[in-house]
């Protein structure tokens, strides 16, 4: 698999975020380098929700964290409007922080246990000079109402809240700065099934209300489809398929996308359940296979998959791109 190439970049005035050839590497031990993300390119239009889906270790969270610069970027660019976030640091980077906010996977761990809920939500406003005046308190209470937390509980500490409530607080904290882009890194995977839908609906409401652009990371194919306009499927640090959410699930072209859709307990109707039986283990990101990264497990593998890395190619003239030498057509 694969994924190099800029074909999926749409360009245009409404692009709010453009990631080009993003590469992220981590050193482990003395010599080894983990190739977490290797040259991924995509863009996000204003008001759009981009979903990134893949299994653990595919680099989806690293992409999310790179956008808000929580890890070092080894190569490529992350453009937000006119700024290349990858090239910025220090005060210049910090000044753009309010625009790009993030929601974390573990809602409890993402809130400081020693601070009151109201302080946690107000933190962004305090940092950016709103002070702690009366106006601010009203704003915090309003935010709490918006996300469905009774402002009466503003003086409580985090451990008195359930996971779902804590995630609501995390959302309020991110919204306090009136961000343009909200990065959601597995925001519902730590929550109970009956609470997941509440948070997904809340995110959708907030998106409408504040005109947000969302980047939504999840390993859950159904959840990603529910929230996204456009979806990227990732495998071992590369993108294998990008496209309109409905289209991608209706006509999955990449063998790996098909395998994922066939593996879930209630397989998607567009694939055959046997396509989920991919063999072998996911290779180590320390020494990923050359050529197509999925070739070690792909049922359609051929010589060209070993020698050449497939480029992203458009499927027909629709918003659907696949990086595969042998895309599946059914």
């Amino acid at each position: 698999m694969a994924g190099s190439g800029h074909a999926p970049l749409r360009g245009g005035d409404s692009t709010i975020l453009e990631v080009e050839d993003l590469t992220v590497e981590f050193r482990v031990g003395r010599r080894d380098v983990v190739h977490a993300v290797s040259g991924i390119s995509f863009d996000v239009l204003e008001g759009e929700t981009l979903g990134i889906v893949g299994e653990s270790g595919c680099g989806k969270s690293t992409v999310a964290r790179s956008i808000v610069r929580l890890n070092e970027i080894a190569g490529g660019s992350v453009r937000y409007l006119d700024h290349d976030l990858a090239a910025l640091s220090g005060a210049a980077l910090r000044s753009l922080r309010p625009d790009l906010q993030m929601i974390f996977q573990d809602p409890i761990s993402s809130l400081n246990p020693r601070r009151k809920v109201r302080e946690v939500i107000a933190e962004g406003l305090v940092i950016w000079g709103d002070g702690q005046g009366v106006w601010s308190r009203d704003r915090i209470d309003e935010l709490m109402e918006t996300v469905g937390i009774d402002p009466e509980f503003g003086d409580r500490r985090v451990h008195q809240f359930s996971g779902g409530q804590a995630q609501r607080i995390g959302i309020a904290r991110a919204l306090a700065l009136d961000p343009k882009v909200l990065i959601c890194d597995e925001p519902v995977s730590a929550l109970d099934v009956s609470v997941q839908a509440q948070i997904l609906n809340l995110l959708e409401d907030m998106k409408q209300r504040y005109g947000l652009t969302l980047v939504f990371i999840s390993h859950d194919l159904s959840v990603v489809k529910n929230v996204s306009d456009r979806i990227i499927v990732m495998y071992l640090g590369k993108a294998c398929e990008i496209g309109d959410a409905d289209l991608l699930y209706e006509q999955p072209r990449h063998p790996y996308t098909r395998a994922l859709l066939a593996s879930i307990p209630q397989p998607a109707p567009t694939v055959d359940e046997s396509e989920g039986d991919i063999s072998g283990e996911i290779p180590s990101p320390v020494s990923p296979p050359g050529g197509c990264r999925f070739r070690t497990r792909c049922p359609y593998v051929s010589a060209v998959c070993i020698s050449d890395e497939p480029e992203m190619q458009q499927v027909g003239d629709s918003d659907h791109y696949v990086a595969c030498h042998h895309p599946v057509v059914r």
């Binding site: 109970d192 009956s194 997941q196 959708e204 194919l221 409905d246 593996s263 209630q266 109707p269």
Partner: protein
């Protein structure tokens, strides 16, 4: 709670965190701490399991009834090789010799689909991937050819493609050996796709139990009904509005005498707040504990009343506006 399990059957126990599904499994496995008070009886093949526990029977758990946990690392000793750990079970319970046990361990790893079993027996758990580790744990559980395998969230910590392989493996092993299984999961999809019967737990009780098909197509308990509706489905178009269950699961410390789901239930009537609904249809193929079951005239009437009033007897507002 009461349930029975036939030989060779797969029973799913579905519930959210804190619903008591893992406690149930531990009670069956005699793994609860001494502070736990256990009432009632567990009969296994006609024998009273708790009498066996009292008698200090060593070769029951792990031999005839065994368990696989969510996190394989909790069941594996990090400083012992995988093969040795499986062999140890065989030597302790079945009295195998050292060499025979190691040979059997290698065979078991092969059966559960671990590639290169000859090499894996000499590896330590941390050298294996999560999926392989879970297979080693399953091999260990199967070592003594148990009659009943309890799997507590066996695939929660692994990816979907690995999950499919492990569930396929458990399925085929069950069929080959006529083994019964209890699959504990929070994932409705897994229960629906793999189990013959499903029991739904809420706040420490089984609120509904029936064959899988009936449960998902004709659910009677409003909790089951709401749970099925709240989950995003892959065949829905993107941005489909979800139908969440309001509120959150109750705490189990000093619960009031009422239906535990009443505060979150769209069907709740006055009687739901006054008494715990008894389980209807005990011993029949479909049992549920609800005063106003969904998809019945009684339930429809209750729902219609609540919708007309805009609020349930428990004070839950039914409208499109969010309540706090």
């Amino acid at each position: 709670m009461t349930f029975t399990l036939e030989q060779g059957e797969m029973l799913g126990i579905v519930g959210e965190s804190g619903s008591g599904k893992s406690v149930t499994a531990k009670a069956l496995m005699n793994l609860l701490p001494r502070t736990a008070e256990i009432d009632g009886r567990v009969r296994f093949d006609g024998e009273d399991v708790r009498a066996l526990a009292a008698a200090g029977s060593r070769h029951f758990w792990g031999v005839r009834m065994t368990m696989v946990f969510q996190d394989p690392m909790t069941s594996l000793n990090p400083v012992k090789k995988c093969g040795e750990q499986i062999a140890e079970t065989l030597r302790y319970h079945l009295g195998h010799g050292r060499v025979a046990a190691m040979k059997a361990a290698t065979d078991l790893l092969e059966q559960v689909g671990v590639p290169e079993p000859g090499r894996r027996v000499n590896q330590y758990p941390h050298q294996l991937s999560g999926g392989l580790r879970q297979r080693v744990v399953i091999a260990m559980a199967l070592a003594c050819e148990p009659d009943l395998l309890i799997a507590d969230e066996p695939t929660t910590a692994v990816d979907v493609t690995v999950q499919k392989r492990i569930l396929d493996l458990l399925d085929s092993l069950r069929k080959e050996r006529g083994m019964s299984m209890i699959l504990i999961t929070h994932d409705l999809g897994v229960a629906r796709g793999r189990c013959d019967d499903v029991a739904v737990m809420y706040a420490g009780r089984i609120v509904e139990r029936s064959s899988t098909e009936t449960l998902f197509d004709r659910s009677r308990h409003p909790y089951t009904d709401a749970l099925v509706r709240s989950i995003p489905r892959i065949e829905q178009p993107s941005h489909a509005r979800l139908d969440p269950i309001p509120g959150r699961p109750p705490e189990l410390i000093d619960p009031p005498v009422q239906c535990a789901f009443a505060p979150r239930c769209r069907y709740a009537q006055a009687d739901c707040l006054e008494s715990v609904p008894p389980t209807e249809g005990v011993g029949e193929s479909h049992e549920f504990a609800c005063h106003h079951p969904a998809n019945t005239p009684r339930g429809r009437e209750a729902l219609a009343n609540n919708v007309a009033a805009g609020v349930t007897a428990a004070g839950l507002q039914i409208s499109y506006r969010k309540t706090r």
